[in-house]
């Protein structure tokens, strides 16, 4: 199995704060990796750096073996790495359909035309298919600012998938979503993702959700990765229990809930 995303000595400081310290990460094609860690541990900073939004202070980032250091986010997306956001980043005054249409025209790779309509039957059909996959069809013509949080998160992720990325980074996909709906959301997303053979990395706080879908967990603390490996060993790791999950997590029960 080959490496799809690799970081070498990735570091980021904000003045005196070390948000990321010499991160060495190697994600292989097809993996589903869970990222855990308390708030401020550096998980979002990691995603921001790897997707080109935040320049690292030092270190290198390789996607498919090629360095993407210094590349803009739009180039990295075009190369095949997409992401979703902790707070869904959508176009509030546009409808859900229009949001998808924008994502679709962007994925086509050419500059948007100033003559041809955005809203074409072909794009509409593709958008409708995506909405069906994600179960948000009834919100199709609603303004994004009016739809529920869970739907927004789904649309956010759907838009990232439109460009058929080879790797998808999800930043807290279930945050802000009620506990009953968390599993439904993740089931939907992971079903779509598995269909297209996408490598996935997602940040999550709910251990049951993490355990249910991943083959590997990376635990962040204070800008460093304190454990990286199969769920059982990471969740049972003393440091992880100290700094991330707490000592009372019933590891067996959580892992027993996996497939």
């Amino acid at each position: 199995m080959s490496s799809i995303l690799e970081t070498r000595g990735l570091t980021r400081t904000f003045g005196a704060v070390v948000a990321a310290k010499e991160l060495n990460v190697n994600i292989l094609k097809g993996e589903v990796v869970g990222v855990i860690g308390s708030n401020g541990a550096g998980k979002t900073t990691f995603i921001n750096m790897v997707t080109g939004y935040l320049p690292p202070s030092s270190g290198d980032i390789l996607f498919d073996g090629k360095s993407v250091l210094g590349r803009k986010s739009r180039d990295i997306t075009r190369m095949g790495m997409a992401r979703s956001f902790q707070v869904a980043q959508l176009f509030p005054k546009l409808t859900v359909m229009e949001n998808a249409l924008v994502a679709l025209v962007a994925a086509e790779g050419t500059q948007p035309s100033f003559l041809r309509r955005l809203d074409t039957p072909k794009r509409r059909d593709r958008a409708d298919a995506i909405f069906a996959e994600f179960g948000v069809s009834r919100y199709r013509d609603a303004l994004v600012s009016t739809v529920p949080q869970g739907v927004r998160k789904l649309v956010d992720i759907a838009m990232a998938l439109v460009s058929r990325p080879r790797m998808l980074l999800l930043d807290e996909p279930t945050s802000g979503v009620s506990s009953e709906e968390k599993f439904a959301l993740m089931d939907t997303v992971m079903a779509v993702v598995r269909q297209h053979g996408v490598t996935v990395l997602f940040v999550e706080h709910d251990m049951e959700i993490v355990a249910r879908y991943v083959s590997r967990i990376m635990a962040f603390y204070s800008g460093e990765i304190i454990a990286d490996g199969p769920p059982r060993s990471v969740l049972g790791n003393a440091k992880v229990q100290e700094f991330v999950v707490g000592h009372h997590l019933n590891v067996n029960a959580v892992l027993g809930a996996t497939l």
Binding site: R78, L101, A106, P112, R116, R117
Partner: protein, 320 residues
């Protein structure tokens, strides 16, 4: 929703109908009205330039720059290059503006919000300063623009103003139809997305800057058209065309009309011209104050402009 769909598709025939009505009235309306409408429609073209940038989330406080370049382009080509054909003159003025926009836009589209607003203002004031100091270009007096010819035909007397009016109506109609289609085009809608969330557009694989640049150049071209038409209709150009208060009027009309529909700037420009004619007659020393008070009232109570009243009444009819 059905009603909205109906009215959206009714826009094109409605625009054509209005254009036809305005054009046909040329022979029956009084000369002063035709002149007022000529100037109003020309202004509306510049306002469309402001609206294009507003839809991108940017306010241009210096659109008068391109209005002035368009006007001076026409004036200079007529005076010094001996060009007399109206279409050629307009093309030259617009071309000059586009070249300038290609240069300035590269720098300007790196900025947003108040920086963008004030930098556009600064650029227009630089032009103003250059024109005022340039005696070759007539300095503060500017100079006159002789009436143009139209593909060989030289109108005389009343026909001059009438032909210019018809030209302006024609250009406005074409531009309006073009803008209507632009609003729902790929670039038009994605530009709105840039306004809503630039970072997401970047993450989707597009360059927000490039889109804003395209809008900037398009707006410049339209504004130059408006400036050129004004120059021909009023027969005069001067540096005030680039002064910041002129830009302010364009912003005012854009806010007055609203940015939601192509007809809005035209309606706004007509309303503005009417108010202005009365105000300058009745109370010349309080014209600025009147503008200021109305502008305040608009942004506080009717931020989407007069067009939002039309939309509200449409919604009421649709739900009734």
């Amino acid at each position: 929703m059905l009603f909205a769909k109906l009215s959206a598709s009714a826009t094109t025939p409605a625009l054509l109908l209005m254009a036809a009505i305005f054009a046909a009235s040329a022979w029956v309306m009084p000369a002063w009205l035709a002149f007022l409408l000529t100037l109003a429609f020309s202004k509306a073209l510049v306002v469309l330039g402001v609206v294009i940038q507003m839809r991108a989330g940017l306010v241009s406080f210096g659109q008068a720059l391109f209005y002035c370049v368009g006007g001076y382009g026409v004036g200079l080509a007529s005076q010094y290059l001996g060009v007399s054909d109206a279409f050629a003159l307009l093309a030259l003025g617009t071309l000059a503006a586009i070249v300038l926009a290609l240069i300035c836009g590269w720098l300007l589209t790196r900025y947003r919000d108040i920086f963008y607003a004030m930098l556009t203002l600064a650029l227009s004031m630089i032009l103003y300063g250059i024109l005022v100091k340039s005696s070759a270009l007539g300095s503060t007096d500017g100079f006159n623009v002789s009436p143009p010819s139209f593909l060989g035909w030289v109108p005389e007397g009343d026909a001059i103003k009438r032909t210019l009016y018809l030209l302006t109506v024609g250009v406005s109609a074409i531009v309006a139809l073009g803008f209507h289609s632009f609003m729902v085009s790929g670039l038009g809608r994605v530009t709105e997305a840039v306004r809503e969330n630039e970072i997401r557009v970047e993450y989707l694989g597009l360059s927000p800057q490039r889109m804003l640049f395209a809008n900037y150049v398009l707006a410049a071209g339209l504004s130059a058209l408006g400036g050129g038409l004004t120059a021909m209709a009023s027969g005069h150009i001067d540096p005030d065309m680039a002064f910041w208060t002129t830009s302010g009027e364009f912003v005012f009309i854009a806010i007055l009309g609203g940015t939601g529909h192509v007809a809005a700037p035209f309606i706004g420009a007509i309303v503005f011209s009417v108010i202005r004619t009365f105000a300058i007659q009745e109370a010349p020393n309080t014209w600025q104050m009147t503008l200021g008070v109305i502008l305040l009232a608009l942004v506080l109570f009717l931020p989407k402009g007069l067009w939002s009243l039309v939309e509200r009444s449409k919604k009421r009819e649709a739900s009734a």
